[in-house]
C-alpha cells in the first residue's frame, strides 16, 4: 500500500511540476562495493550527459525507490553534499532524466554522476481526462509536444509554429496578420455552419492555458478565430515560456473536460521553477520579416496602351463611340499632362520589410517545498503591411508550495497585454490595402489630392487596439487518507479588448469618424475532485484500481459595446462633444452569459499494466440547453492491451513496446444561444401610448434545443521497434458531430419565420499516423531524428433537416455553398467549365428555336467564340443557376508534416520542419480578379478596375479572323478583352471550375540552426549556458497552385485577395542562462 501511495504521489508531483513529456525510468547500476560502517559526507557533481554541463536542482534522496527520503538538491553548478551512512543508496532524480542510483561507498567526494535524458516513450506522462497517466496506460488519444521544439522561432502566435508537428491537428496559417491565429482543426472541421460572409464556423479545440479554459471559438470576428481587436488570446502567451503542449484528440481523452472540449483540447503548460538556486535566463530574437513575392503589374504606358487597344477593338458600338469614351478619361488621353502621366507602383507603398525583436527574461528557483517562476516577455512585430503591427507584453508567475506530503498548492497568475494596429483593414482583412495595391498604375501617387487614398487611409487612420488578459489558476490538494485525495481547481480568465479608430475627414468625404469599441469576457471554472487509488494482488500488486469523481461549475460571459461618432469638429478633435448627434450611435452590440454544471467520474482498472479498462461518465446541464432537455450524458468506454508485455514477446528483441487501444465516447458542446431556447424579446409598438415589449417573431423559441454532441470511436496501434529507434503510431477514428444548428424556415401561417433546429450531422473518419525514426545509434555524435506525421480525413454530411438531401446557402459577395448528404459537408456550387468556345460554330444550338445557347432565360445574350464553355447540365440551351453543380472539397484530404532534427556533438543542431496538404480544392479568386480587371478598361478605381498583370502568362482565347467568330483552339481562359459583353457574361466569375484549383502544397515551415557555446568557455564570464540560433520561418512553399499562396485562404478554401499575406522571417537569436 505504501509503495502504491508513493507512486501516486509521484504521479501528482509530476502534475505539479507540469506536464512534461518525460518520465522516470528507474535505472540502476552497481558501483564498487563498500564495506565500512558509519556516516560519511558524500559530495560530487551531477552532469547532464547530453550537454556535459552541470545540472542544478537535481534531487538527491535515499532509500528505496518507492519510499524516498529527501536529502537535498544540487546547486547552480551542479554540486551536492550529503551526509549518509556508508552503503546507503543515493538516488539522483530530475524531471526528464533517468534516475540514477549510486551507493555511498568509498568514493565520497568528487563523485561524478551522469544523468541521461529518459527516452522510453511509453513512460511519458500524458493527460487523460482530468488526470495524468503513463502513456502505456493511456486509453485515449493524446500527443505531447515539448515547448523546446518551437522556442527558437519568434512568432506572434505560437500555434503557427506547431503546423505539421502533430498528426491529426490541422493548423493552417491562413493569415499573416501579426497577433492573429490561423485555423486549427483536430481531425477535420467539425461544423457545417457557414457565416453569411463565407466563413466556416471555427471548430478550434479548447485551450487550457495553465489550468484556465480559453475558448477561442467565441468572440471571433470574420471567422478567423480572432477577438474583435484582431488579437487572439493565445497570441498573448510567450513561446519562450511554454513547457509543453498536450493535444487531446478523442472523446476518451477529452470528455471529462466537458463542454467546449468537443473539438479536442490543447493544454498549454508554462514552465515551473525547479532549481534550488535561482536561475536567470534571457533570450532575445532579432528578426526581419519580408513580404512574399509581390505581383507583377504593367506600369504606365504599357497599361495605357492595353486599355486603349481594348476599347478601340472591342467597343461594339462604333469607333466614334470608342473615341468618345476614351476622350472622357484623361488618364488615357492626356499623357502630356504631368498629373495624368503616371506609373505608380502601388504595392511598394503598402508592403515592405520590417525589423522586429523579442525579449524574454525568466527567473525561477525553488525546491520541493516551495518553488517559483517569473517570466517577462516583450514581443514587437511590425506587419509587412504599412501601419500594422502587434506588440505583446506578458508577465507570468507561478508558485508551488508543498509543506508536507499531504498538502500541495499551486498558484499561477499570468497577465498579458497586446496592442495591435490594423491600418486601414479591419481585424484580419486588409481589404483597403488589397484594393489599394491593385489600383491602376496610371493613377497619381498618393497625395491629399489624388484619387486613390487607400495609402493615405492606411497611414492616416489613427488606430489602436488593445487586448489584455489575466489567467489565474489555483490548485489545492489534500490527502485525506492513503490513496484518497481531495483536490480543488479554480481557474479564472478575463479578457478585455478595446479598439479606437479615427478616420480623418479627408478620407471619408469630409466627415470624420471616430469608433470606440470595447469588450470583455470571462470564464470561471471550479472543479472539486475526489480520487482514490488502490492496488492489490499479492507481492507484485498485479491489480490496480483508480477512480475519481468530480463536480464542476463554470460560467462564462461576454459583452461588447461600440460607440460611433460621426462628424467631429475637426480631424484633431475626436469627441465626445461636437459630433453630429444625428449620425452618431452606440450601444451594446453583443452580450452573452452562460452557466454550466457538470459532474461525473471515471473508474479504471489495470492488470500488470498489460490490460487497461476505463469507464467514464459525465453529466452536463447548460443554461443554453432547452429547459425540457435536462442533463446531457457523456459516457466513455475504453480499453488497452499492451501486447508487447505478453510473455511470448519476452524474447523478441526488436519490439520495444507494442499496444493497441480502443475507445468510444461522447461529449457535448453548448452551441447556439439563449435566444434559440427562450426567444428574444424586443421593443414593440406602443399600446395606449405606453411602450411594450414583444417577442421577436423572427425566431420561434425552442425549449427542446440541444447542445451539439460529438461522439467518436478511436482505435490505435502503437509500436516501438529496435530499441525505440522506430516508433509507429496509427490511429483510425470515426467521429460524428450531431445536433448542429440549422435554421429552417417556418410556414408563414405560423407567425414566426424561422426555427433553429438541431438537425445537422457530419461524420469525420480517417486515420492519424506518426512515424519516428532515429537514424543513428544513440551513442553516435551525430543524431538524426525524422518524424513523419499525417492524417487522412474524409468528412461526410450525414443529416439535414426534414429529410432534405441538400441545402443551399448563399454567401454575400462570393460563391454559394451547398451541403449535400453523403458528400463532403461543404461544397462549392459551381459552373463546370470545359475550356473556351474556339469558334462560334462550336456553341450548341437549340434545335427547336435555332438559337445558340444563351446566358439566362430570355436574356438574348448568346454565347460565341471566346466565351467560356460552361456545361449545360439540364440541356435546355440556357446557362443559368440550374446548371450549377456541387463541386470541390475545401477540406484537405491529407495533411501532416515532416520534421528533421540533426544534432552534432550535442552542441550544433539543425531542425527543419515541413508541412503538407494534399488534395484540397481552392477557388483562385485572385487570378479571377486579375483577369476581371482586363474586362474593365474604362475603370481605374479599385471598385471597378485596377492594375493589369501581364496577360501573356495566361493561355487565353485570341481571335483569328476579323469578325472574331473563330479563334485559338484549346485556350484555357476566355477572351479577356471583350469588355462590353463581359459586363453581362462575367466570363471570369469565380463560381466556375476554371478557378478551382488543387491547393496541395509542401511548405518548408522553419529551419533552425542552433549552436551551444562550450560551457567551459562561457563559464569564465559567469554564464552557465549560451546558445545562439539562426532561424528562417515560412521559408518556401512548393505548390502547383497558381495563386499567391495556397495556405493563405479562408477556411472555405477561397483565396481572398483581402487577406493578410504571410511574411517570411529571418531571425538571429541568443539564449543566455546565468
Amino acid at each position: 500500500m505504501h509503495r502504491m501511495l508513493m507512486s501516486i504521489n509521484k504521479l501528482y508531483d509530476m502534475r505539479a511540476i507540469v506536464h512534461i513529456s518525460l518520465v522516470l525510468l528507474l535505472f540502476a547500476f552497481q558501483t564498487e562495493r563498500a564495506s565500512a560502517q558509519g556516516t560519511v559526507k558524500v559530495s560530487g557533481t551531477v552532469i547532464d550527459a547530453d550537454s556535459q554541463t552541470p545540472m542544478s536542482g537535481v534531487t538527491v534522496s535515499r532509500g528505496k525507490e518507492t519510499a524516498l527520503n529527501h536529502l537535498g538538491q544540487t546547486d547552480s553548478i551542479g554540486r551536492f553534499t550529503v551526509s549518509v551512512p556508508i552503503g546507503t543508496n543515493l538516488i539522483f532524480s530530475s524531471i526528464g532524466f533517468e534516475t540514477v542510483t549510486l551507493k555511498a561507498g568509498n568514493v565520497v567526494d568528487s563523485m561524478r554522476v551522469v544523468m541521461k535524458t529518459k527516452d522510453n516513450p511509453m513512460n511519458q506522462v500524458v493527460v487523460q481526462g482530468l488526470r495524468q497517466t503513463k502513456r502505456e496506460l493511456a486509453t485515449g488519444s493524446s500527443v505531447t509536444i515539448s515547448g523546446k521544439e518551437i522556442q527558437d522561432i519568434p512568432a506572434g502566435n505560437v500555434m503557427s509554429l506547431l503546423q505539421g508537428r502533430v498528426a491529426g491537428v490541422n493548423i493552417q496559417n491562413n493569415t499573416g496578420s501579426p497577433g492573429a491565429m490561423g485555423t486549427i482543426n483536430i481531425r477535420g472541421s467539425s461544423s457545417i455552419g457557414v457565416s453569411s460572409d463565407g466563413m466556416l464556423t471555427p471548430t478550434s479545440p479548447l485551450f487550457v492555458i495553465d489550468g484556465v479554459q480559453v475558448d477561442v471559438n467565441s468572440g471571433y470576428q470574420y471567422g478567423y478565430q480572432t477577438g474583435s481587436t484582431g488579437i487572439n488570446p493565445v497570441s498573448l502567451i510567450p513561446p519562450e515560456d511554454i513547457e509543453s503542449f498536450e493535444f487531446l484528440k478523442d472523446a476518451t481523452a477529452t470528455s471529462q473536460y466537458g463542454a467546449k472540449a468537443t473539438y479536442g483540447v490543447i493544454i498549454i503548460t508554462t514552465k515551473r521553477g525547479r532549481s534550488k538556486v535561482p536561475v536567470v535566463g534571457y533570450s532575445a530574437n532579432f528578426f526581419m520579416n519580408t513580404p512574399p513575392r509581390l505581383r507583377q503589374v504593367l506600369g504606365g504606358a504599357e497599361e495605357r496602351a492595353i486599355r486603349l487597344r481594348t476599347i478601340m477593338d472591342y467597343d461594339t458600338a462604333s469607333p466614334e463611340r470608342s473615341r468618345q469614351e476614351i476622350n472622357l478619361i484623361p488618364y488615357l488621353t492626356d499623357s502630356l499632362n504631368p498629373y495624368y502621366n503616371n506609373s505608380t507602383n502601388w504595392q511598394k507603398y503598402f508592403y515592405g520589410n520590417t525589423f522586429n525583436q523579442t525579449h524574454n527574461i525568466s527567473i525561477y528557483g525553488g525546491d520541493r517545498v516551495f518553488s517559483y517562476k517569473t517570466n517577462l516577455n516583450y514581443y514587437k512585430e511590425n506587419g509587412i503591411i504599412r501601419n500594422t503591427g502587434f506588440t505583446r507584453y506578458n508577465i507570468n508567475m507561478n508558485v508551488t508550495y508543498e509543506p508536507t506530503e499531504k498538502f500541495k498548492m499551486i498558484a499561477s497568475l499570468q497577465g498579458g497585454l497586446g496592442t495591435k494596429q490594423n491600418g486601414s483593414g479591419v481585424g484580419l482583412f486588409q481589404t483597403g490595402v488589397a484594393s489599394g495595391a491593385n489600383a491602376s498604375s496610371l493613377l497619381p501617387p498618393p497625395t491629399l489630392f489624388s484619387d486613390n487614398n487607400s495609402v493615405l487611409s492606411s497611414e492616416s487612420i489613427r488606430d489602436h487596439n488593445k487586448t489584455s488578459n489575466i489567467l489565474s489558476n489555483l490548485v489545492i490538494r489534500y490527502q485525506l487518507l492513503q490513496g484518497l485525495q481531495l483536490q480543488n481547481d479554480l481557474g479564472y480568465g478575463f479578457n478585455s479588448g478595446t479598439s479606437d479608430r479615427f478616420t480623418p475627414s479627408f478620407l471619408n468625404n469630409g466627415s470624420s469618424r471616430a469608433e470606440n469599441y470595447n469588450d470583455r469576457n470571462y470564464s470561471l471554472t471550479n472543479r472539486t475532485m475526489l480520487s482514490y487509488v488502490k492496488s492489490f494482488g499479492g507481492e507484485e500488486k498485479a491489480h490496480m484500481v483508480s477512480a475519481y469523481m468530480f463536480n464542476e461549475v463554470s460560467s462564462s460571459g461576454a459583452k461588447a459595446n461600440t460607440i460611433f461618432l460621426s462628424q467631429t469638429p475637426d480631424d484633431q478633435v475626436e469627441g465626445p462633444i461636437g459630433a453630429n448627434g444625428g449620425n452618431s450611435k452606440g450601444g451594446t452590440t453583443n452580450m452573452t452569459d452562460s452557466r454550466q454544471h457538470g459532474y461525473g467520474g471515471t473508474v479504471e482498472y489495470n492488470y500488470m499494466s498489460k490490460y487497461v479498462l476505463n469507464f467514464g461518465y459525465r453529466l452536463d446541464g447548460t443554461s443554453i440547453n432547452g429547459p425540457s432537455r435536462g442533463y446531457t450524458q457523456s459516457p466513455t468506454v475504453s480499453g488497452r492491451w499492451n501486447f508487447g508485455k505478453e510473455s511470448w514477446f519476452k524474447n523478441v528483441s526488436w519490439l520495444s513496446y507494442g499496444g493497441i487501444r480502443m475507445g468510444w465516447g461522447r461529449n457535448i458542446r453548448p452551441s447556439g444561444n439563449i435566444f434559440n431556447v427562450y426567444g428574444k424579446y424586443i421593443y414593440g409598438p406602443r399600446y395606449n401610448n405606453d411602450p411594450t415589449v414583444t417577442i421577436d417573431f423572427g425566431n420561434i423559441p425552442s425549449p427542446e434545443f440541444l447542445p451539439e454532441i460529438g461522439s467518436d470511436i478511436t482505435g490505435a496501434l502503437e509500436l516501438g521497434l529496435f530499441q525505440n529507434r522506430v516508433e509507429v503510431s496509427l490511429e483510425p477514428y470515426y467521429r460524428s458531430n450531431d445536433n448542429q444548428i440549422i435554421d429552417i424556415d417556418l410556414n408563414n401561417t405560423n407567425g414566426f419565420s424561422r426555427k433553429a433546429t438541431n438537425t445537422g450531422s457530419l461524420v469525420n473518419q480517417g486515420i492519424d499516423w506518426t512515424f519516428t525514426f532515429r537514424i543513428f545509434k544513440p551513442e553516435r555524435p551525430l543524431q538524426w531524428t525524422v518524424r513523419l506525421t499525417g492524417n487522412y480525413n474524409k468528412g461526410t454530411l450525414t443529416r439535414l433537416p426534414d429529410g432534405s438531401r441538400e441545402l443551399l446557402q448563399g454567401i454575400s459577395g462570393s460563391v454559394p455553398v451547398i451541403k449535400r448528404l453523403g458528400r463532403n459537408p461543404i461544397s462549392n456550387l459551381l459552373y463546370y467549365t470545359q475550356g473556351v468556345y474556339a469558334s462560334t460554330a462550336d456553341v450548341p444550338v437549340n434545335p427547336a428555336t435555332g438559337k445558340r445557347q444563351q446566358l439566362g432565360i430570355g436574356s438574348g445574350f448568346y454565347f460565341q467564340a471566346g466565351d467560356p464553355r460552361w456545361t449545360d447540365v439540364n440541356g435546355d440551351y440556357i446557362i443559368d443557376e440550374k446548371d450549377l453543380q456541387p463541386i470541390g472539397n475545401p477540406e484537405p484530404l491529407f495533411f501532416g508534416g515532416l520534421l528533421n532534427e540533426f544534432m552534432l556533438n550535442r552542441s550544433l543542431s539543425l531542425s527543419i520542419n515541413m508541412a503538407y496538404v494534399y488534395k484540397r480544392d481552392l477557388l483562385n479568386t485572385v487570378t479571377a480578379s486579375d483577369l476581371q480587371r482586363y474586362t474593365r478598361p474604362l475603370y481605374f478605381d479599385v471598385s471597378g478596375g485596377g492594375s493589369l498583370t501581364p496577360i501573356d502568362q495566361y493561355n487565353y482565347w485570341k481571335p483569328l479572323n476579323a469578325d472574331r467568330s473563330v479563334g485559338t483552339e484549346g485556350a484555357k481562359y476566355p477572351n479577356p478583352f471583350d469588355f462590353r459583353r463581359a459586363g453581362t457574361l462575367d466570363p471570369f466569375r469565380t463560381n466556375q471550375t476554371l478557378f478551382m484549383e488543387d491547393g496541395s502544397y509542401l511548405k518548408i515551415g522553419s529551419i533552425v540552426l542552433g549552436y551551444m557555446v562550450d560551457r567551459n568557455f562561457t563559464q569564465r564570464f559567469g554564464i552557465s549556458q549560451l546558445r545562439v540560433t539562426l532561424t528562417a520561418n515560412n521559408v518556401y512553399t512548393f505548390s502547383k497552385y497558381s495563386g499567391p499562396n495556397p495556405e493563405n485562404v479562408t477556411s472555405l478554401g477561397r483565396d481572398v485577395s483581402g487577406g493578410y499575406p504571410s511574411a517570411r522571417s529571418y531571425a538571429a537569436g541568443i539564449n543566455v542562462q546565468f
Binding site: 461526410t796 441538400e806 449535400r820 460554330a841 434545335p847 427547336a848 448568346y862
Partner: protein
C-alpha cells in the same frame, strides 16, 4: 513445434489481430453513412400544366418546370399519353421526320441553301419533352389531321422525372392544341381554324389617297395572304402584289424607295410590273430573332414599301406601306395588298 515457431505464430497472430481490428473499425463505420445521390424534390412541379400550342408551327415551351430541390441532371419522360376518353394516343409518341436546327440562324445567310444547310431532318415525336430539361416542344410537322385540336378536349399525359435519387410522376398534364393557322396575322378563327374574314390589315400605312386627298388608314387596305399554285414557282417562294380599287395591278416600282434587296430574307428577286417574287426558306421569319428583316421582337417578318413624293406646298411626303407577318408552312405564298377604298397617290402635288 519448436519454441521459436510457436512464438512466431503467436506473434503473427497478435499482429494480424491488431491490424484486423483497425481495418474493421475503419470499414464498419462507413457502412451506415448516407450515400451521395441525386434528389427528386417534393416541391418540384410543372409551372405550365396546360400546353396549348398552335399546330403547324414549332412551339417551344421553356421555363415550365420549377426545379425546387430536385438536383440536375435528371431525366424527363412523357408517359401514358392518352386522349381525353382515356384511350392511348400513339400519335403523340410516334416518330415523325421533323426539321430541326443544327446550326444557329443569324439572318446573314446568303442563300436558301445556306439556311437549309443549318437544318436537318430528325425523327422525333411531334410532341417532345427535353430529356434533361423538361422543356416541351410541339414540332411544326404537327397537323390537325394527326392530332386532335380544339374544340376537342385534347390529351392528357404524365411526366416521369427520375434521377438516381428516385422518380416522381407529374400527372394529368394537358395538351390542348389549336388548329393550324399557317400565317399571321391570321384571318382564321383559333378554335375552328376557318377563315372569318377575307383578309387582314397592314401594320402601318402613311399614304394619301388620290380621290379625296386624305391619308388612308389600315382599313382602307385588305391584305390577302394565300398559297398560290402557279407554274414556274419552285415551291418555296413569296410574292408581293399590289392592287388598286379596280383590282388592277399596281407596278411595285411605284414604291420607288423600297429596299427591295433586303425586303425579306429571300433571294433571287424577280420583279415585274405586277409583282415581286423571292425564293425563301419557310417558316418566315426562320426563328424568333430580331434581324434586319424582322420587327423588333423578331417574331414577325417586317416588309416596308416606301416611296417619296412632293406634297402640297413642296413638302416631302414619305409614303409607307408596312406589314409584319409570319408564314409557317412551306409553299408558294403570295401577299396581296388591295387598296379597296382609294388608290394611293404616288405623284407629286
Amino acid at each position: 513445434m519448436t519454441q521459436e515457431r510457436y512464438m512466431y505464430k503467436r506473434l503473427t497472430f497478435a499482429y494480424w489481430t491488431g491490424l484486423a481490428a483497425l481495418v474493421l473499425l475503419a470499414v464498419s463505420c462507413s457502412k451506415n453513412l448516407p450515400k451521395e445521390r441525386e434528389n427528386v424534390g417534393d416541391n418540384s412541379r410543372f409551372t405550365t400544366t396546360v400546353f396549348q400550342p398552335v399546330l403547324g408551327r414549332t412551339t417551344f415551351f421553356q421555363d415550365n418546370f420549377f426545379k425546387g430541390t430536385t438536383t440536375f441532371p435528371a431525366t424527363f419522360k412523357i408517359v401514358n399519353p392518352r386522349r381525353w376518353n382515356g384511350l392511348p394516343a400513339p400519335e403523340l409518341t410516334d416518330i415523325f421526320p421533323v426539321k430541326v436546327w443544327k446550326a444557329a440562324y443569324d439572318g446573314n445567310e446568303k442563300s436558301v441553301a445556306e439556311i437549309e444547310a443549318k437544318r436537318e431532318i430528325q425523327y422525333r415525336p411531334l410532341f417532345d419533352i427535353g430529356e434533361h430539361s423538361g422543356t416541351v416542344t410541339m414540332w411544326s410537322e404537327s397537323r390537325a389531321a394527326l392530332i386532335k385540336p380544339q374544340p376537342d378536349s385534347g390529351y392528357r399525359f404524365d411526366v416521369e422525372l427520375s434521377n438516381s435519387g428516385g422518380r416522381k410522376y407529374f400527372r394529368d398534364l394537358k395538351l390542348q392544341p389549336f388548329y393550324e393557322r399557317p400565317f399571321e396575322p391570321s384571318n382564321r378563327d383559333a378554335i375552328t381554324g376557318q377563315p372569318v374574314s377575307n383578309g387582314v390589315f397592314p401594320s402601318g400605312i402613311r399614304i394619301k389617297g388620290t380621290t379625296k386627298g386624305r391619308y388612308l388608314g389600315p382599313f382602307d387596305i385588305q391584305v390577302y395572304i394565300r398559297k398560290v399554285d402557279r407554274p414556274g414557282l419552285s415551291g418555296n417562294t413569296l410574292t408581293f402584289r399590289f392592287l388598286d380599287t379596280l383590282f388592277n395591278p399596281i407596278d411595285p416600282a411605284r414604291f420607288a424607295t423600297t429596299d427591295w434587296a433586303h425586303l425579306v430574307h429571300g433571294f433571287n428577286m424577280r420583279k415585274t410590273a405586277t409583282e415581286v417574287t423571292y425564293d425563301v426558306a419557310y417558316p418566315l421569319p426562320a426563328i424568333t430573332l430580331p434581324t434586319r428583316y424582322t420587327n423588333t421582337n423578331g417574331d414577325r417578318a417586317s416588309v416596308w414599301f416606301t416611296f417619296d413624293r412632293l406634297g402640297f406646298g413642296g413638302f416631302a411626303d414619305n409614303g409607307l406601306l408596312a406589314l409584319d407577318f409570319a408564314i409557317y408552312e412551306p409553299g408558294n405564298w403570295e401577299i396581296v395588298f388591295a387598296f379597296i377604298t382609294d388608290n394611293p397617290k404616288f405623284d407629286n402635288d
